[in-house]
Subunit: 310 residues, 2 copies
């Protein structure tokens, strides 16, 4: 068993339009790099080699909390030294906290002979999400651990995660530099939804799963429409409607808000289309005078993984 | 082109638990037999060779209304004579009206050189459903026309139906002889649902589609739970909770109310299990002193089809 490993842990899209709190998709980039070393000294020590000023006290750091949850299931007296280099900007809506938590537990598991299942790792990493967002949710953690397309069918009474292959897809993401707090983006959600609208939403959920499993890109595109969450969050993200319009004109299959925003994602069949769509997305925010980052890359078939050991 | 055809049109399950107004499944039995003959005389004439006393005036008969909708798209001056022998009891909740409407339009299409697509036939047959239930819905029509497992992703602005292969499955249905009017069973539904419950429901919808497409029987079973519609309809169907309990004990994968009831369906992996489950379902209603019918058969891969021509 190695003493130290370096893990790359991917950014992830959650919701994918219609599937609020359920669907997830892993991206090849950006990613967080997590170096983790087993120590004889118990406990967890965290360093951040990035400029984001995140808390490094283990009980307030998503990776720290996830590792403490894992250590509670380890009888040996050991600990971990962790160095995190975030490639995923916090607050971007592409699973930044999930990536750090997932990377940490995948690395720790490698240092422990891979004794835990992926489902257990999701469970540990979800403890980290509570620190980040106040809720124990798995929609970013699941794809960060399993890769590909994931369905969180249930969190309680037991975790039930389905990891399914995604057809080849290229993703364009624009991250406008505006702050949307997860707590704010939860507050605007309706407490109740009309049954008829819920039916239209789960019809799209059914269509999206069928589209992914049969590699039917047109079906994926027309099934992503979100009748419930996106309309509520639209006022939080200036430029969203125009961004979607230009992205579709540039050839995107479809897309929407990534997680609770502010990032906007678009799925595409080819790299060339994804590049053009990325430019189309960026043009909207350039005109609005809002700084932005663009990410273009394929869907990742693997989740967080050990890149090298020593 | 034949002058006359005999069509067998299958019973269908709608909703399948979690997928209210969206999912459908075609059964090999029971079925309606529809004999239809092309006539030089315009209009539609209907005879029922069964004991159910259904209206035969074309504008009040589901098959009649469906055929009148079809004839509006036929430039020739022709008409149809129709003889219907219902094998599916009206009001049973296994798509009785859908079967007659679907059988009629599939037969008429054969007499017209199959000029209409299946999607157009669904559209015509849905006009018949309005007579039966007051609503233009396709969740029984879709499997009655396409066979197998169907998803009605959208009805408006355009019909979007996905016909997917179902893994081998045996269905046990109990039809207790109690009357549940579709209109009553709609009335008990909540106008609004809590967002959290809607999310749990669409997580199951996602799981059920994934289960069907990957032939994962356990996933199908645990994904069928309906948090919204079945709880509201439970009081309308005495014996439902006990029937489910005994069916699961006898080996059923899962099940629920068929359509708006009163029939209860259970999915099973083998014929032997389905037979045992059928007996278990029947035992509940025997003890309650409620007369019942049991149907056991496989999922039908085909929908309504021409059995012979002359």
């Amino acid at each position: 068993m190695p003493d130290s490993v370096l893990v790359h842990s991917p950014a992830t899209l959650s919701n994918l339009g219609c599937g609020f709190d359920v669907f997830g998709l892993a991206l090849a980039a950006p990613y967080d790099a997590v170096r983790i070393r087993r120590t004889a000294e118990p406990g967890v020590r965290i360093q951040h080699l990035d400029p984001y000023g995140l808390p490094t006290e283990p009980t307030r750091n998503v990776a720290g909390v996830a590792l403490l949850a894992l250590l509670r299931e380890v009888p040996e007296e050991i600990g971990f030294d962790v160095e995190i280099t975030k490639g995923i900007m916090p607050g971007s809506g592409v699973g930044s906290s999930a990536a750090s938590a997932a990377g940490a537990v995948v690395g720790a598991n490698a240092l422990l002979g891979n004794r835990f299942s992926k489902m257990q790792l999701v469970d540990f990493a979800m403890a980290g999400e509570v620190v980040a967002s106040g809720a124990r949710h798995a929609d970013n953690i699941a794809p960060a651990i399993f890769g590909g397309f994931t369905i969180v069918r249930a969190v309680e009474p037991a975790l039930d995660i389905l990891a399914l292959p995604a057809p080849p897809l290229w993703v364009a993401v624009v991250h406008p530099q505006i702050e949307v707090k997860t707590s704010d983006s939860r507050k605007v959600l309706p407490a109740n939804v009309p049954l008829g609208l819920a039916v239209r939403q789960w019809a799209n959920v059914a269509g999206l799963v069928a589209g992914f499993l049969t590699a039917d890109y047109e079906l994926i595109g027309r099934s992503m429409d979100d009748y419930i969450v996106e309309p509520a969050r639209l006022p939080l993200i200036p430029g969203l409607a125009e961004a979607r319009k230009r992205a579709l004109a540039a050839g995107a299959i479809g897309g929407g808000i990534s997680g609770s925003g502010p990032s906007i994602f678009m799925l595409n069949q080819t790299e060339a289309t994804a590049q053009a769509v990325g430019e189309a997305l960026g043009s909207v925010f350039a005109e609005l005078g809002i700084a932005f980052h663009i990410y273009v890359g394929p869907v990742a078939t693997e989740g967080a993984r050990v890149i090298c050991e020593s």
